[in-house]
Amino acid sequence: MKRITILLIVTLCVVLFASTLAWGGEYFYGKFFATKDDLLNSFKKANINWRQFEGETITFIGNAEPNQESIMKLVPVFEELTGIKVTQELVNEENLRQKITVDLTGKTGVYDAMLIDPGYLALYDKSQSLDDLSVFVNDATITDPNWYQWPSDFPEQFIKMGQINNVQYGIPLHLSGTLMMYRKDLYQEKGIAEPAKTFDELWDHASKLNKPDDYYGIAMRGMAGAGLNMFIWTTFLKSFGGKWWDENWKPMLDSPESIESAKYYSDILKNYGPPGVSSWEWSKILSGLQSEKVAITIDTPAFAISIEDPKLSKTAGKWGYAPQPAGKAGITMDPYSWYVGINKDSKHKKAAWLFITWMTSKEVQLAIGGPTIYVSRLSVNSDPRWREDYPWLEGWQTALMENVKYADPDCRPRIPEYPEIGNIVGVALQEVTSGQKNAEDAMKEVNQKVYEILEKAGYYK
C-alpha cells in the first residue's frame, strides 16, 4: 500500500514537472526569440551598462491583466541581465488604484515603480509624488537614446496623456482606446458598401442591421460609470462639438451639442440596441459580439483578440474595423493605456528606471506578443511579421492607427475630481438611456451638479 502511495506521488510530481515544461512552450520567449539567451542578448544592443545597479532590489506593483502578466513572466530575464532583484505584486485594477494612491499620497515609498491610471495623474501631480521621467530619459548613463527611441517610437497622443503641465510622469505601456467594429458579412448582405463615416450613416446602418429576432443593430456600454458608459459616450460628446467645460471651468454639459450627443447615444441604443442595454458593460458587449447578437459596436480594440478567436467566438473572421464616425467636430478617440512611473520617494530610482526601459522596450513588447496584446510602440505595432498568424490584424492595425490620430487625452478629463463627475454624468446618461428622463433635463440637471463639485473643489476661487 505504502509503495503504491509513493509511486503515485512520484508520478504526480513527474506529471506536474512535465506540464510546467510544456507550459514553457515554444513561444515562451515570443515568436522572434527562440531561447532565453536570445532575448537576453538582444538587450546588449543598448549602449549602457545594464549591471551598474547590481544587487539592488526594487518593488513593482502592476495590474493583473494579460499584457502585464506576460511581461512579469519575463522578469527573470531582467534579473539576469541587470543583477537587480524585482519584487513584484500584481493586483486587480481597483485594488491597484487604491494601493498606489495610498502609497503615493502618503509618501510611504513602498513601491519604486508602478503602473498608473492616467486619470489619476493630476492627483499625483497635485501631491507631488511622481518623478519627472525626462531626467532619466536624458541621462546617457542609463538611457541609450538610439536604442530606446523615446519619444519617436511612441504615439504622440499617448505620450501627452502621460504628462501633466508638460511634465512626463509616465511611459505608455498599451495602445488601446476606442474603435468601431462591424460585421463585414452582414454589411455585405445588406449591400452597405463601407463602414459609417458620419453619425447619420451610423444611424442608418444600425437601423438596417437591426433584426431583433436574430441580432441587434448596435450595442455600446449603457451601464453608468466613470469608466463604463463614459468611456464611449465622451467620444460622442467631443465629436458632436460638445465639451465638459469652457476655459473658466464653467460646465458646458447643458450646451445644445452636449444634449444632442446624449440624445443620439441613448436613442440609437434604445431603437437599435438589445433590450436592457442600459446595464451593459464591456463583458456583455463582448459576449454579444461573440454570439452573433450584435452587428456594430464602438468599444475597445482589445476585443479583437477574443472575437477573432474561433475557439471563443462564433463570429471569428467576420469582423471589419474602422475609425469612429465623424461629427461636427470631427473624429474623437478615447485613448486608453496604463503608464509606468517612478515614485518620488523611491530609494532606487535609477534601478527602477532600468526596469521601466526594459519593460517598455521593443524586445519585451515583441516577446509578449506585439500588437495582439496592444503594446504601445509604433514599430512593434506596424511590424508585418505578425500578420501571417492573425489574418485580421492588418485591417485592425490600419483602422486603429488611423483612429489613434484623433485621440484626445482629455476625452475623460484628467482631473482629480473626475471619478465623482464621471459617476454622476454616467448616471444622468443612463437615466436617458433607460428612458427615465429626456436628454435635455438630465444634462441640465447634471451640469449644475458638476458645477457644485468643481466649486467645492475650489476651481472658482
Binding site: 481597483e94 487604491q98 494612491t101 499620497t105 492627483l123 497635485k126 501631491s127 449603457g222 451601464m223 453608468a224 460609470g225 466613470a226 438589445p274 433590450p275 436592457g276 442595454v277 442600459s278 446595464s279 454570439s291 447578437k293 482629480p416 471619478p419 465623482e420 459617476n423 448616471v427 444622468a428 443612463q430 437615466e431 438611456t433 433607460s434 428612458g435 427615465q436 428622463k437 467645492k456
Partner: protein, 285 residues
C-alpha cells in the same frame, strides 16, 4: 483584595483592547472625520459643512427612500413567507429533514455568488427568467434590472430568496418551543386554527419574531452585494441605497469626510428603525 482587582482587570484587558481598537476607535474616528474636509489632498476642519451638503443633496433622499423601500419590502416579505414555511415545517411529514436541508441552501451561498447568478438569470436575452416565462407561460419577459419599474424589485427579490430561510429557521425554533397545552386548551374552547394562530401563536412568538426582524433589518439595511453586482445602483438612481452611496463617496470619489458623514447619518437611521421595531414589539397586549 487589591491584587485580585488587578487580576480581574488583567483578564478583561484583552477584550477591552480589542473593543477599543476595532469598535470604539473606528467609531470615534468616523465621528471626527465626519466634521472634516478629508480627501486625498485635504484634511481640514469644516464644521457642519458635510452635513449641510448632505441634507441639501437630493441623491441622499433618493438613496434614503430606496434603502427604506428595500428594508421594508425585503424584511416584510421574508417574514410572511418565512412564517408560512415555518408553520409548514412545524408539522410532521415524510422527508422533512431533507426538505429542511434544501431550504437552508440559499443561506449558505456567499452573497456575491448568488448576486452573480441572479445577474445571469435576469439577463433579458440570455437569462433563465425570460426564457422560462416565454416557454412556459408564453409571455415575453422584461428587462428586469434596467427597467426603472422593476429594478428595485429585482434586487429585493435576491434578498428575499437568500434570507427567507434564515427567518424560517429562527421562527421554526420559536414555534417548536411553544407550550402545547395552551393550544390544546384553546382548541377545546372551540377556537379554530386561524384564531389560534393570530391570538396565541403570534402573541407567544413576539420576542422571537422581534429577534428575527431585528437581525434582518440590520442586515438588509447594509445590503451591498445584491445591489452592487447587479445594478451598481442603477438605472439612474433607482437602486442606489445609502450603503452604495457611502461606498461610492469613500472608495470611488475618495471623499472620506463626506463618506464618514453619510455613515454617521446611516447609524442614526438604522438606530431609529431598530428603536421603532423594539417599541412596537415591547408594547403590552
Amino acid at each position: 483584595m487589591k491584587a485580585r482587582k488587578v487580576e480581574m482587570y488583567a483578564f478583561i484587558l484583552p477584550g477591552l483592547i480589542f473593543l477599543f481598537l476595532f469598535s470604539l476607535y473606528p467609531t470615534l474616528f468616523t465621528w471626527y472625520t465626519s466634521f472634516r474636509d478629508f480627501s486625498i489632498f485635504s484634511n481640514s476642519f469644516n464644521g457642519l459643512r458635510n452635513y449641510i451638503d448632505l441634507f441639501k443633496d437630493n441623491v441622499f433622499y433618493i438613496s434614503l427612500k430606496n434603502t427604506l423601500f428595500y428594508v421594508v419590502f425585503a424584511v416584510g416579505i421574508e417574514f410572511i413567507i418565512g412564517m408560512a414555511i415555518a408553520l409548514l415545517f412545524n408539522q410532521t411529514f415524510k422527508g422533512k429533514s431533507i426538505a429542511l436541508i434544501f431550504l437552508m441552501l440559499p443561506m449558505i451561498i456567499p452573497p456575491v455568488v448568488s448576486a452573480l447568478s441572479f445577474l445571469m438569470m435576469y439577463d433579458p436575452t440570455l437569462g433563465l427568467m425570460n426564457y422560462a416565462l416565454k416557454t412556459v407561460f408564453h409571455v415575453s419577459g422584461a428587462t428586469w434590472l434596467t427597467d426603472p419599474k422593476t429594478a428595485i424589485w429585482a434586487v429585493v427579490s435576491i434578498d428575499i430568496w437568500q434570507w427567507t430561510p434564515f427567518v424560517t429557521l429562527v421562527l421554526l425554533a420559536g414555534l417548536q418551543y411553544l407550550p402545547k397545552e395552551t393550544m390544546e386548551a384553546a382548541r377545546i374552547d372551540g377556537a379554530n386554527s386561524i384564531q389560534i394562530f393570530f391570538s396565541i401563536t403570534l402573541k407567544l412568538m413576539k420576542k422571537i419574531i422581534m429577534i428575527a426582524l431585528l437581525f434582518r433589518t440590520v442586515e438588509a439595511f447594509k445590503a451591498f452585494e445584491s445591489i452592487f453586482i447587479t445594478t451598481k445602483g442603477g438605472p439612474g438612481y433607482n437602486t442606489r441605497t445609502l450603503n452604495i452611496f457611502a461606498y461610492l463617496k469613500g472608495f470611488e470619489f475618495m471623499k472620506f469626510g463626506e463618506a464618514a458623514t453619510l455613515s454617521i447619518v446611516m447609524l442614526f437611521v438604522s438606530s431609529f428603525l431598530i428603536t421603532v421595531l423594539r417599541k412596537f414589539f415591547s408594547k403590552e397586549g
